[in-house]
Amino acid sequence: MKKLLVYLKDYKAECILAPFFKMLEALLELFVPMVVASIIDKGIGNNDVSYIIRMCLILAGLAVFALTGSLTAQYFSAKAAINFTSKVRKSLFEHIQTLSYSELDCIGTSTLITRMTSDMNQIQNGVNMTLRLFLRSPFIVFGAMIMAFTIDTKSALIFVGAIVLLSIVVFGIIVGCIPLYNKIQLQLDDILDITRDNLMGARVIRAFCKESSESEQFRKSNLLLAKSQKFAGRISALMNPLTFIIINFAIIILIHTGAVQVNSGKLTQGEVVALYNYMSQILIELIKLANLIITITKAVACGNRVQAVFEIHSSITPGSRTDTDRSSQYIVEIKNACLRYKDAADYSLENIDLSVRRGQTIGIIGGTGSGKTSLVNIICRFYDVEQGDVMINGQNVKDYDLHTLRNLIGIVPQKAVLFKGSIRDNIRWGNTNATDDEIMQAIISAQAEDIIKSKDGGLDCIIEQEGKNLSGGQRQRLTIARALVKKPEILILDDSSSALDYATDAKLRKALRNADYSPTVFIVSQRAVSIRHADKIIVLDDGKSVGTGTHDQLLKSCKVYKEIYDSQFAKEA
């Protein structure tokens, strides 16, 4: 949390002024019982009506000043807390943009989203409350005690005793309940998991007639939860009665000793009333303070989580080259490359060699988990190789500026993701300056023209978040168009025709071959049919290359390839 506080530096004045004004308000509140005491002792004692009126006007005046102080404080603290969080949020967002795939895998995107949203809200709330209350509450509690000392030392000692006891009870119960509430949260998560699981598996559960045993399982967890809730409830239900006992017994003692003191002339009646009033003020503020401490603890925990993200830095150091030289013989050259994902025991790619000439079509085939996508990942430098080199246009990918490198490549990822916005906006992700003509061309090549025709508004048709209003195949074709509009030198289709039927798949491949910018195409697939006509096919098995060559060569020389092929094309008997 500490390191985040630098974002407060533009709001130093607010951070000092807010608590200061809040303290001012508290100070004014502390005067009230004193004024009341003098009304009783002097005003009533001397039957002095004008004195009473004056004192009551002072009370009203104190209220006006307290209001002004408090409003000023609220304004400064709101301004500081919100601007602070806003800055942290913005720099966290920008920081996340710089992380590489490796770090994203480690942290997980859902965690990042929580950091950006609910954690930030907690932090904002924590800073705001701290600025408002962290001086006020202790100030009133101890101020009341000090005021008591100025009235009468003996009675003030009762305050000390009461404050100590109250603190033990209030903090004890609150701290004691924290683990109970954590347990409740865990049990709640548990029944949340059961519910979500149940909904996802509704078909399987019904197919296996498991409805009643599911209900039984839920009922058990639910029972446990209710039990813990009731237990925690019983403990926290102690708070009110206990504090009530302490405060009121303190008041009894106070009045009792007060009676003795008044009798011997050391105290006046009004002063006893003042002491009584101070005692009543303590309790409310002490509870506020305890709650403030919880809020702060939560905010600090959230702050630490956010700071942890800031402390993660990209493992990929971009190069500086912003141009590329097209004279080399090979457009892509992979030499003896090995890739191991972070924290993984085994290599995902081992000693891969591959050289590709400009304009060639390369097929990458293999079973699930054989390393096909990993190969794509090192070409785009989403991950760095542990050994070996990846060259594009004769230049190591590590020497390129990342944007320059990725602008050379158009990629269609496995998962077809589109974003909220018009079809045009989505396609333009590939090329911000693309004209409608260029966009349509890409869409036609991607076999997606029928989508545009069937949708109201054509290119202006709004895609919902995650492309919900499109079918899987439609989404996939639009993501292909998004890559094509770049007119990339290198085009990578990562198993991206899986949702397309064979006929469309074939038409797409034909369109790519005829493209005027003649891209070098990498096709990753599990289907032999999608790659059999490639200029070169690389067969992967468990991260190793077990064969490179054309379809005909591989059928003869590569056992794995032949097995894959045969499994998909039943031999004509």
Binding site: I52, A66, I191, R219, I245, A259, V262, R406, I564
Partner: protein
């Protein structure tokens, strides 16, 4: 519009009361304790005031009377605390028991809702009803119990006590207190608009965060980082402005009501002190009044807080009850029989079905499958293949026409016996949180270890299971298992392999398994399908060539039907599909 809203609100309250009515005795006790405890709390300042009146000045203190009063106060404190604790505990118990009952009912109801309900609602939204909404409801209910009743008793009690001391000042307090109430209301009204703007912008920002960070890899692949940051920055600036306003204005409530209370306090002080001089009030009475003036406004603010909280709780409750009252699937007929000794003759007669009335899907569909036949269903994505499975398993009911198994109409059979006669493997795998063994033995809970291992060996799942940290006892779940999609699919196949019911449904059952493993387990598949009626949905044409009947579906209807050979000769849609895989 408003009327129906009020009506549903009334209905909701009724339902809540129905749940609570099981705890009548506890509720009566709670109210009784609350009343006594509030009365005692209120009586305290009077007693303290009396005590103060006995302490007038030097050598003017009535010690024995003071001691007597203080003893009374002491006893009252103890009684009050015990009652208060009992009340809190009872309220807790009622609340959490009611919540537990509602949750269990909601979950059980989920089990009998038609699948169409689950399919057409976002799971996250249903989960949030069962978890977040119920929780929110609990909070509101608890707060209502503890504060609403006490608050009302306190207000009435304070009034009564104040009246008993001095009527004039009471009238003053009564007329002034609503001021703070109005101030709070006024501010809340003003703030509402700011909060609405804030939450709208926040929603916009969360959506952007979801999209961009959720798909961070794509953002980077397309070098979209800077644009994303710019878009974020713009929304962030707007949010900052809106938030400062919303937070500041809402934080005005407390200081303002405090201010008005202070003014009331000052006026009570003034009129009170003047009355003392005139002799209408004692000093102790004044001290007592001042402390009432301080706390009289509190329950008003609390009650207004409770009312918003309760309204919120009611709207949460309404969402839960909407789920609980959702019409369940048609129950099995009383005369429904258990399906036994199934041969596997499946007959669909003039079946019509659609998910939404105005979008026709399957129409006048006839199919006659004889025992042991293999039916393959092919067609482009979204053509209705899965729909057929939904009907066979009776996840959905037909709109018209009939489906029968061995001449028993499916609606004359219990759902459980119908479904347990099918072995189903779906494209979307689902793993229940639990051990590998429990997952495999789902359809046959009494299976012993040997049977489980044998089934796993047949599907080649044994190979990876034995490498898991605890073998068959490893706990896995759908989200967090470290299993690949293919491995999950193998487990699902093993599930069916263990019990092998008389009929099979395989919906893209091997889509995530690489073709080599698929080939390896094909033998087991063949063994499994031998003599059993099976329905197979597949993308890969090689898996379906040997089927007895191939159904070619497009846009929800069957457009071709026949064997592989017949269909190729027909040279229609199937032939086009088939040939495209060899196309250049």
């Amino acid at each position: 519009m408003k009327k129906t809203k009020d009506k549903t609100k009334k209905e909701t309250v009724k339902r809540v009361l129905a749940y609570i009515s099981g705890y009548k005795l506890l509720i009566i006790l709670s109210m009784l304790f609350a009343a006594v405890s509030s009365a005692l709390t209120l009586y305290m300042p009077i007693l303290i005031g009396n005590a103060i009146d006995l302490i007038i000045g030097r050598n003017n203190v009535n010690f024995s009377a003071v001691a007597k009063t203080l003893t009374v106060i002491g006893i009252m404190i103890c009684v009050n605390s015990v009652l208060h604790w009992f009340m809190n505990t009872i309220n807790n118990r009622i609340t959490f028991n009611v919540v537990r009952d509602i949750r269990s009912d909601a979950f059980s109801h989920l089990q009998i809702l038609p699948l169409s309900y689950i399919d057409s609602h976002q799971h996250g939204e249903l989960v949030s009803r069962l978890i977040a909404d119920v929780d929110q409801f609990a909070d509101g209910l608890l707060m209502g119990f503890t504060q609403l009743f006490t608050g009302i008793v306190t207000i009435i009690g304070t009034l009564a006590f104040m009246l008993s001391i001095n009527i004039k000042i009471t009238v003053l307090v009564v007329f002034l207190t609503p001021l703070s109430f109005f101030a709070a209301k006024f501010i809340a009204g003003r703030t509402y608009g700011y909060f609405k703007t804030q939450s709208e912008i926040r929603g916009e920002q969360t959506a952007l965060i979801d999209e961009m960070i959720g798909n961070q890899k794509i953002v980077q692949a397309f070098s979209y980082e800077e644009t994303a940051s710019q878009r974020f920055g713009k929304i962030n600036d707007r949010l900052t402005k809106a938030s400062v306003k919303a937070v500041f204005f809402s934080s005005l409530t407390n200081p303002t009501t405090r201010f008005i209370n202070s003014l009331i306090y000052a006026s009570v002080g003034l009129t009170g002190a003047l009355s003392v001089i005139k002799g209408g009030l004692s000093v102790g009475g004044l001290a007592c009044f001042l402390s009432y003036a301080n706390q009289y406004t509190k329950p008003f603010n609390e009650i207004s807080g409770v009312i918003t909280e309760l309204q919120n709780a009611l709207s949460c409750a309404a969402r839960i009850f909407e789920l609980i009252e959702e019409k369940p699937q048609l129950p099995d007929k009383d005369t429904a029989v258990e399906l036994e000794n199934v041969q596997g003759n499946v007959r669909l007669n003039d079946v019509c079905f659609s998910y939404v009335p105005d979008k026709k899907l399957i129409e006048h569909f006839d199919l006659n499958v004889k025992s042991g036949q293999r039916v393959a269903i092919v067609g482009p994505t979204g053509c209705g293949k899965t729909t057929l499975i939904n009907l066979l398993m009776r996840f959905y009911d037909v709109n018209s026409g009939s489906i029968s198994i061995d001449d028993n109409f499916v609606d004359d059979i219990t759902r459980h016996s119908l479904r347990s006669n099918y072995g189903m493997v779906l494209q979307e795998t689902w793993i229940k949180k639990g051990t590998v063994k429990d997952n495999i033995a789902m359809g046959k809970p009494d299976a012993d270890m040997q049977e489980v291992v044998a089934a796993a060996k047949a599907t080649y799942a044994h190979n990876f299971i034995k490498r898991l940290p605890n073998g068959y006892d490893t706990v896995i779940s759908d989200a967090n298992s470290g299993l690949s999609q293919g491995q999950k699919q193998l487990l699902c196949i093993t599930r069916v392999m263990l019990s092998i019911p008389p009929m099979l449904i395989l919906d893209e059952a091997t889509s995530s398994i690489d073709t080599r493993t698929e080939k390896q387990i094909q033998h087991s598949f063949a063994e499994m399908m031998k003599g059993r009626t099976s329905f197979i949905v597949a993308h890969r044409l090689s898996t379906i060539q040997s089927a007895d009947i191939i159904l070619v579906m497009k846009n929800g209807s069957i457009i071709e039907q026949g064997t592989h050979k017949q269909l190729l000769e027909k040279n229609g849609f199937y032939a086009e599909l088939y040939n495209s895989q060899f196309a250049v």
